[in-house]
Amino acid sequence: MSGWCGAALPILLLLPLGGALLLLVAGRRVERVAVRFGVAVQSIGLVTALVLLAGFDTDRSDVMQFRVDYRWVPQLDLSVSLGVDGISLPLVVLTSLLGLLTMVYTLRYPPAAGHPRAFVGLLLLLQTGMLGTFVALDLILFFLLFEVVLAPMWFLIAYWGQGERRTAANVFILYTVLGSVVMLMGFLYVWSVTGTTDMVILAQLHGAGLSSSAQLLAVILIGVGLAVKAPMWPLHSWLPDAHTAAPTVGSVLLAGVLLKMGTYGMVRIALPTLPDGAITVAPYLGALAVIGILYGAWASYAQTDLKRLIAFSSVGHMGFVLLGIASLDSVGVNGALFGNIAHGLITGLLFFVVGGIKERTQTTDLAQLPRGLYQRAPRLGFVFGFACIASLGLPGLAGFWGEFLALVGAYSPTVSDRYLFRALMVLAAFGMVLTAAYFLRVLRRVGQGEPDPLPMRDLTETEAASWMPLAGLILVLGLLPGLLLNLTNPAVERVLSDSANTVDVRS
């Protein structure tokens, strides 16, 4: 490992943090250049992430690479322990990409409530927290970075949002903090029993030293915290309000990255560290996931607001991710990770496009939205249609693979309740159909119909620049899912390897 390997991850995390501090210190005189500065910082960030991708040894994607280990707070066994493997690397790249795209979007559409310096500073702080969560390899550090995103997102919603933004922001933060405090209790319990907070060592121990009942307690505590974030039905109720109230870039990052922190945590921490506990709770998680899928689809169908509809559809999509995790099967977990990325790209794009529509029509109410988008703004209409079709899981686009693999995983779960999971699989497949139904309804409502006579601006260059990378990746990953699966699979095998053994011993 050469010198720059150790520096890559610290640079990735400290760059946005340093940028945010610089904006804070610089004062009001930099107000005008703040967004351009943000674009510059996020560009360097994305380049760093791509260098990481290029320097990543794909043959050893099950091994943590670019390791950093600095003992920070010995009293808590807290180390700044960082690294990426095939599970976290795609999320790091996705986060860096969305970070840059949201900033580019802000360049063209500055925040309506003004104060671009504060806005950009908060986005940068958010970026540090999001990236940090995906590369942290210490339980307490993971928790700390998990919390870092809360205050910036709260301010983004409460000050630059719309409608009942303050209430939505409060519900978001209180709900998530309650969840993460419970998660912290789980972490500290694991620490007190095993004597370590190092996620790599804990994964190697693979539950050794933790009795089944201890694992069950820990997995419930940790799982609740992560499930709030994911969000899992019935802990999802903060999400629709937060999404509806958040400004466009807030929604994009909320759906594109923040939700993934929950499911990522399950794969990174719960599965390898608490295998027995995971086996016990898997059927319940699977059942709740499927309820989430059906509920999300059913609730989406009933929505009259476009942003709210996409928010509820996220509950459904994340249900597939959770179902894949619950299968504890390598195909299912790979599908879950694929679904994470796909949902980040697709829903990110959807929120961008809806934000663009709102810019033009000042509304996201389905009943008030002027009809005939295809005719009035053909290119904008095309992107909107593309995003909706991708979201409903059309084969050939990225959204398909995550859900398909999750279903395959549920068909052959690595747990004893095979029939339960097959039943769940059937119900989840039905959920896919429902998803198609409501998205087609939206397309017909917004895209088709007698066009409103008023002119409407078509896709602008900034919009194209900030949306096309997402659309392109949706297509590429849809056609070549192996690109991503080859990266995640070895790491997933490692996460699950010994848990499969545990089952063999039991059966």
Partner: protein, 487 residues
């Protein structure tokens, strides 16, 4: 049985501060009346005490035979360090406030240094008699400090309230010590030192009388740290007192109280099954109820008063998780770590409130609307202190010390206590955040003016110092969280 010799070096920090108190009084008599001279003197004296602190490490004095009444241990040094830093900060804030409110300056700083002397002695005492005397030395000057502000009708009432509560709880605790002495006096052979009590309580089981005595003793400490149900005086007294005095009560007086609680906990560790349920219950109720009460406050000082009650609840948690025969090192490290961090973030918040209160004497929470626009650094500093108190990043140190504290009951299996702390923290988040949010709200036209009163440089130095401390310990948390190990 004679006192052979006095090691003045061991006593030096307390002597410097006590001497400083007299010097302040003399200077006030002969030099020009005004807050600058006594105030600066008080700051220098506190910092001087801090400077000589390392040299006192490990010394013992005032010995009778084998037992020494005054001994400087690790925990002594960390408590004294916190006390001295806090006293210096309070003195800085006082320089401005004393002038604004026309409080007699000499008396004010004299009383503060007197009380601080007591707070320095508390963590060094090794027996109950000196402990009670030292605690009284902390308390008595504070009643006068609260009441010195003659311009405010509430001040007298506040002072009286604190006085009555204190006197009652001292009487109760003396009764408790008498009961304890009656029941284990034979075993400890006359010296109520913590080592003797530890040995004695390891050998005999608690009698009902001893239990009653122990619980009564906890009453006076409950008053000092204003734990529920002994909190009732705090919000009124804080509100009636000048703001630096409220800050002093919420930090120095509280730290002294925790010095006493640690003393009791360490002495009676073998009987921990008797008293930990009491402390645990008080801690749990304090964390939940005080945070809930803080939700309803409209005045900044009252809110900080309830918040400091709640924060004391967090500090009690590691002590409530004492177990006989267990290594209590991590518990004490957590207590000291939390107190160190709390001192910096709480004094910082009080200092900003003191600045705002110069223009808006009532210092309602609503008066802080848009502070970050009017004076960005004050607003951002206060937001950071509140984030620390809430335990929400970027207030990293506030989060980490909470993790350190909650880890203790989880390791010992006291889940309900950890759950109470979790609930309290989440409630707390709401009011700290609401306040912080207000700072960034664009003020309505006409509200933007304000903070026009010139001067106040000393308070701003205090704010900057506390900001520097909180940021430093957020980056290098070991400085606070490992204070007990590293001194």
């Amino acid at each position: 049985m004679t006192i052979q010799s006095v090691d003045f070096v061991a006593l030096l920090p307390a002597l410097i501060v006590a001497g400083g108190a007299l010097l302040v009084l003399v200077a006030d008599l002969f030099l020009a009346r005004g807050p600058i001279v006594p105030g600066v003197l008080a700051v220098l004296v506190s910092l001087g005490g801090l400077a000589v602190l390392p040299g006192t490490s490990g010394r013992e004095t005032l010995c009778i035979g084998e037992y020494c009444t005054y001994s400087v241990r690790e925990i002594t040094l960390s408590f004294q360090g916190i006390t001295l830093v806090a006293t210096a900060t309070v003195a800085l804030v006082s320089i401005v406030v004393v002038k604004d409110l026309a409080i007699p300056a000499g008396e004010h700083f004299f009383l503060i240094l007197c009380s601080a002397t007591g707070a320095l002695v508390v963590p060094a005492t090794t027996d109950f008699v000196s402990l009670v005397i030292a605690l009284e030395l902390v308390s008595l000057p504070t009643f006068a400090l609260i009441g010195l502000h003659s311009g405010d009708r509430r001040a007298g009432e506040a002072a009286l309230k604190a006085f009555l509560f204190s006197v009652t709880s001292v009487a109760v605790s003396l009764y408790g010590i008498a009961l304890l002495y009656g029941s284990i006096g034979a075993e400890v052979q006359g010296t109520m030192s913590y080592r003797a009590i530890f040995v004695a309580t390891s050998q005999v089981d608690p009698t009902p009388v001893a239990v009653a005595g122990l619980v009564l003793l906890l009453a006076v400490i409950g008053f000092k740290i204003s734990a529920i149900p002994f909190q009732a005086w705090a919000p009124d007294s804080y509100e009636g007192a000048p703001i630096p005095v409220a800050a002093y009560l919420s930090v120095v007086s509280k730290v002294a109280g925790f010095g006493a609680l640690v003393f009791v906990a360490v002495s009676f560790q073998p009987w921990s099954q008797v008293w930990t349920p009491v402390v645990a219950l008080a801690a749990a109720v304090t964390m939940v109820v005080a945070n809930a009460a803080a939700l309803r406050q409209r005045g900044a000082v009252r809110l900080l008063a309830w918040s400091s009650i709640a924060q004391a609840g967090y500090v009690m948690v590691p002590l409530a998780a004492f177990a006989s025969g267990a290594n209590v090192g991590p518990n004490l490290i957590a207590v000291v770590g939390y107190l160190a961090a709390y001192t910096a973030m709480n004094l910082g918040a009080f200092a900003v409130v003191a600045v705002v209160a110069r223009d808006r004497p009532r210092a309602r929470i609503a008066d802080f609307t848009g502070l970050a626009w009017r004076s960005p650094w004050l607003g951002i500093s206060l937001a950071f202190f509140l984030a620390c108190l809430a335990g929400l990043p970027p207030g990293v140190i506030g989060l980490l010390v909470k993790v350190q504290v909650i880890a203790v009951p989880i390791a010992s299996g006291a889940w309900w206590l950890a759950a109470a702390m979790a609930v309290g923290t989440v409630i707390g988040l709401y009011y700290y955040l609401s306040w912080a949010a207000l700072l960034f709200q664009r003020p309505v036209r006409g509200e933007i003016e304000g903070l026009t009163r010139p001067g106040g440089g000393a308070i701003k130095i205090a704010v900057a110092a506390m900001l520097a401390v909180t940021v430093t310990i957020s980056v290098v948390p070991t400085l606070a969280m490992g204070l007990l190990e590293n001194v």
